[in-house]
Assembly symmetry: C2
DNA sequence: CAAAATATTTTACGCGCGTAAAATTTACTG
DNA sequence: CAGTAAATTTTACGCGCGTAAAATATTTTG
């Protein structure tokens, strides 16, 4: 059936025997037209491949159906996966996700927000870089666009924050490690990229003190988002200067732990909880690769599903409330301890 | 200076004392207006924050400035990095990259192309899933949109293909391994997701036969893109059923090798080239994590920069030629051997 | 310096669609 | 079945901008 090509909504309305605005209504919400009308449109749709011009649509709509998703580092499988999960929820809700990665770079983060602003999104889900973020730029963005922060909090910025409860992460790992062996020292970057790291350190200190133990924090050098490399080099440095103060090391996050484990391996330090092991290592995040480290990594897992689900729900609620909440919301989800071979 | 808000190009043209079309010309190409005119516009731009409405612009332009980038799996740091590199080149060229990941899913890949088609991109850089791709859908897309394939070839599809020379990868690893120890067996998935895997197997067999050696291919079970898990389980299975036919294993790709190394570690098999090592392992791709495996992984590296650079250049050339080349082009770049500790 | 050639700007029109208000149809009442 | 309320469709207008053709300014030529 060599039906002639449909060029615009006008022509499509003609072949379905309706007026263009009726068809327009249908595309905005198929249930907003009478059932018989809907059938006619859908019948025509099967014969006449037509899709509304996305630019013309968005030019006139008060609010686009675009949802921006910004994560600090797309090459980190952790963020890639959570972004993926959010994307799917956004699509299910009938919106169009636009995924952008900031590549650990302050300027890129601002560029991303700038770029999002120009496409007039209905809302944005933003996992900020953290410490190095241009705070005032992000704040001004959040004032202009309904924004929900996730993963990494910036106090007072955005209409809501959804994340994991760092205290819950650390309490569980510290408790487990203390119960089953030497109390851990804490391994982290000197200048962490992300506020979660600070919360984790504080939670570690608090947990240790609560147990009447002496907290020991090891801070290693390094800038940026190449955490494995930083953890690797930092571990070499620590070992070179006398070793860890405890045979049990709790890493701030899994990517540091991956570097640490590689360095331990190179030094012939056997990691694990069995006989003949020189040390135990645990961490936080349940990074996708933490199952495949040597040994596999004992860690505290985020509740991916809850964080992404609640983030999306909150954003849609925000959008429906006209872009404002009476009060900023913060939601934290507890961690789940994953026991593997490293501790 | 509380300048009144500029709402559209008309108003902006007014405050700069020009007609709107002149301003329009400027935004399409700043050099297309007289120098004095340009100065006036840029002066006004500093006082009056204004940016053309992206939807209105793209509605009327013959060709948008959008460039689609599709990779098979964004949660794989290898693709995340190459995508990043391509993104930057696209931005430098004054275009707008739209990055999409197919999540190892045939349907998602088609959705991505569908979604790209609706934004009428000037061109698309596509790294197809490979075997499981919906070939006819991709072909029909390539006919409608100027498309350059990269990483994974599909014979005859797209105007060009840019990738790495699998023969060069395998020749180098096989040669090195044979020179320095026992000739390798080849470790791969039974039904590889990606045509590169087939090329690598054939290259391995050819290289071994050329050297008068007996090729040994080990094919493990597993579907999908969770290569580490597949390599891990596959290795356990191989070990349980008597072990590898050679003490030297060449993996089809680094992600399989990561799983293999984890499994070897669990079995207490020491990997490396030193004394007391039970086996050697090498691989292909130089995955970002291959520096941090235990032991660090000897592998053949892609020339990221060349592949991404040439892909982008080729696409722009394609766009300038009106979306067609007289003849389909294929460009392959050689690998670089990276010696680490595993072999 | 006038006229022709060229570069630049303006006029005029249309792109494809959203949406308020008006007109019409359908559903519901008694 | 007439009459009214509610749901639906149509009329009419405008969004913000690209672009060909016409008008004007600038540069070059003789």
């Amino acid at each position: 059936m060599p039906e002639k090509k449909i060029r615009n909504m006008e022509e499509f309305a003609a072949v379905s025997g309706l007026s263009r605005p009726t068809v327009s209504k249908y595309f905005n919400d198929p249930d907003s037209v009478r059932a018989t009308t809907r059938k006619r449109i859908e019948a025509a749709l099967e014969r006449h491949e037509y899709r509304p011009n996305i630019y013309a649509v968005n030019q006139n709509r008060r609010l686009t159906k675009n949802i921006g998703i910004v994560v600090p580092y797309l090459a980190d499988p952790f963020f890639a996966e959570i972004a993926r999960s959010i994307e799917m929820l956004v699509i299910e809700a009938g919106f169009r996700p636009i995924l952008l990665g900031s590549h650990g770079d302050r300027g890129q983060e601002i560029d991303n927000l700038e770029s999002l602003r120009s496409i007039k999104p209905a809302g944005v889900l933003l996992a900020p870089l953290g410490r190095i973020s241009d705070r005032s730029a992000i704040e001004s963005f959040c004032k202009a666009v309904p924004t929900v922060l996730f993963d990494s909090n910036m106090e007072g910025t955005g209409a809501a924050f959804i994340g994991s409860d760092n205290v819950s992460f650390v309490d569980q790992t510290v408790d487990y490690l203390c119960r089953t062996g030497t109390p851990p020292c804490f391994f982290e970057m000197k200048t962490p990229a992300n506020p979660n790291a600070n919360k984790r350190r504080l939670a570690y200190i608090a947990a240790m003190e609560r147990a009447g133990l002496d907290p020991q924090v090891i801070k290693i050098d390094g800038e940026g988002w190449r955490f494995e490399e930083i953890g690797h080099k930092g571990t070499h440095d620590v070992i070179a200067s006398g070793g860890f103060p405890s045979d049990t090391v709790l890493c701030s996050n899994d990517r540091l732990a991956i570097g640490l484990l590689a360095a331990c391996y190179e030094h012939g330090l056997r990691v694990g909880r069995g006989d003949g092991c020189a040390m135990r290592v645990a961490s936080h995040d349940d990074h996708p690769y933490s199952r495949f480290t040597c040994p596999s990594l004992t860690t505290a897992a985020h509740d991916y599903a809850e964080v992404s689900g609640r983030s999306v729900d909150t954003l849609f609620e925000l959008i429906e409330s006209g872009g404002r909440f009476d009060q900023r919301r913060e939601t934290l989800f507890a961690a789940r301890l994953i026991l593997r071979d490293s501790a």
